[in-house]
């Protein structure tokens, strides 16, 4: 378990993002704070529509603007605010230091190019941007090495294969290889293995974990699966309706979930011992163009009182452990 160190790799402060559409302005992210320390594995969990993908896209600089707009906040990568960087510098950052493992192995690879060509593109591009001239042959060596690292049998065959010739699990391995190719410092994994069977997902997650630990990479793992986040991260953030509602060491949050949303979500997850109580959560995610005032969870919260609809709760410290455990709920306000 690693505590965040003084200079985090990634430091997001007060990130606000809105979308403009026919229905008006949707204020999606309402001030997200998030850090990833060096060598730390951090999870970002929440249900569909909670804003986890928007957060990830804002960090990677791949939000489509318009309709999206960053209204405020900072995204610092190794101390530099990436939102103020020029396009060239930013591109360089995301091709090399920041890289991403995409979710869907079926659609994230181009079906008409061989695996080797696609990996070579990624590597050659970053090399050129970094002012290096490399030959295809030297890149091939590195690519084969990485394909071996992700435990693909017969890397040379995979190099010459088309995506359709590989199984879903193998394609997901290729996507991991692609993300590792330029030796990043921060890996963003968006629902890795979600599209695969449990046994294959389990293998992929173990592989990813081993690679991250071996290279001392920092990782931000985005998932809707609480079980996956529990197994793969040191610290986590729980998001609801565009805000972080709870954060803390993964073990602490699972042992003692504090925010009513986190508690409800955990109750909804079916348990392997068959003991699940099907409580569910009444109501639906609010409409972002007309969000409820105060705490955005209050219309669905069993503990809501007058104050919850009046003012947005700040993140209160709730734990006594070495890693900050915070819950954005008025119930935790010190008296």
């Amino acid at each position: 378990m690693t505590a965040p160190v003084a200079a985090p790799v990634l430091d997001v402060r007060g990130l606000r993002v809105s979308f403009r559409g026919f229905e008006g302005v949707a204020e999606v992210l309402q001030g997200v704070d998030l850090t990833v320390g060096k060598g730390e594995r951090v999870g970002l969990v929440g249900e569909s529509g909670c804003g986890k993908s928007v957060t990830m896209r804002a960090i990677m600089g791949i939000l489509r603007a318009p309709p999206a707009r960053v209204d405020g906040g900072e995204i610092r990568y190794l101390g530099r605010d990436v939102l103020t960087l020029g396009r060239r510098e930013r591109d360089l950052l995301k091709g090399r230091d920041l890289s991403m493992v995409f979710q869907d192995p079926g659609t994230s690879l181009n079906p008409v190019f061989r695996i080797g060509e696609q990996l070579d593109d990624v590597m050659g591009w970053a090399d050129r941007r970094g002012g290096e001239r490399t030959s295809r042959r030297t890149r091939r060596g590195r690519i084969l090495e990485v394909l071996k690292q992700v435990k693909l049998p017969d890397p040379a065959l995979v190099y010459d294969a088309y995506p359709m010739q590989l199984s879903g699990g193998m394609r997901q391995r290729v996507l991991i290889a692609m993300a590792l190719l330029n030796r990043p410092t921060l890996l963003i994994a968006d629902e890795p293995g979600t599209a695969l069977d449990v046994t294959t997902q389990d293998e992929i997650l173990r592989l990813l974990d081993a690679l991250v630990q071996h290279d001392g990479l920092s990782m931000l793992l985005i998932s809707h699966n609480l079980g996956v986040v529990r197994a793969m991260t040191d610290r986590l953030y729980v998001m609801y309706a565009g805000a972080v509602v709870e954060e803390g060491a993964t073990a602490d949050v699972f042992a003692d979930p504090r925010h009513p949303y986190t508690q409800a979500l955990l109750r909804c997850v079916p348990k392997l011992d068959g003991s699940a109580v099907y409580a569910g959560i009444d109501g639906t995610l609010p409409d972002y163009t007309r969000p409820p005032g105060g705490c955005r969870f209050h219309p669905r919260c069993g503990y809501a009182h007058a104050r919850c609809s009046e003012a947005r709760p700040p993140a209160f410290e709730v734990g006594a452990g070495p890693v900050a455990h915070r819950s954005a709920c008025w119930l935790e306000e010190p008296r």
């Binding site: 249900e47 997902q201 293998e203 997850v269 348990k271 392997l272 003991s275 569910g280």
Partner: protein, 325 residues
Amino acid sequence: MSAEPLLRVDGLTKHFPVRGGPLRRVVGHVRALDGVSFDVAPGETFGLAGESGSGKSTLARIVVGLETASGGRVRVGDVDDVRGGDRRAFGRVVQMVFQNPGSSLNPRRSIQATLELPLAIHGTFQGPIRARAAELLEMVELPRSFLGKHSHELSGGQKQRVAIARALAVQPQLLVLDEPTSALDVSVQAKVIELLQKLRDELSLTYLFISHDLSLMHAFCDRVGVLYLGQLAELGRADAVFRAPRHPYTRGLIASVPVVGEEEVALKAGLERITGEIPSAANVPSGCRFHTRCPAAEERCRHEDPEFTGDPSEQAVRCHVHSIV
């Protein structure tokens, strides 16, 4: 189990021909199902688990009559399987809820029209059809005002409720639920499962529940079957199978489930993981078809196909090494 099962699946086989060459000759077969047998008692919820490619969806489609079997029989109540039989009579006893409510509801039809269509087709319902549609909505806990809406105006959970209401319109005895909640978030899934449990008790329904979510299956099903490459590997009471899995495939599946609590971690302790991916059903391994991935495989597993041992109402397993004596 009571004496007379509601659903009887007997030696069910489905082979899809593979064609190749310039003359499109049949060069082989995809053995999607290869002799699957099990019974489901009235009021029971039977779960079928397995990875993609195991044949679970093919089985569901044959049970509802969307696909015809190559061999074996399916009988529901007194109605025999579809081949040569009365398709409509079959439809009145068995209905299906599909995986993706986004594509299983017709976007051009109002919810009312969606719910009235099965009533019109079967013509068995006596009384005002419109009132019946409203009653069906009430059963799935949706307001009457939804009758005039179209599916695009509904959330995923609401759409799935409409799909359940549509399946219930003709008052079937057996519902085949093909991954009914896998496209939904957990908080919505919990609500839909709660509804399915309530309907099962109120209408004394029998469910055939297909899923890849083993945790959900343990909580929701009375008995489960684990399918691998078109054959059942293990079968039995949900609690027996999940607490003391015997087949190496079942053990491997359970070992790979991501969990959220300490009690669950205990259930996974001591289970061997499996590696690799499911082979193609066009090229089924000899002997026990799991031997290529099995951590316990012995020499005879490569040549001899194991038989089922044990009692299917308690726990039965198809494995040389972990047979029940």
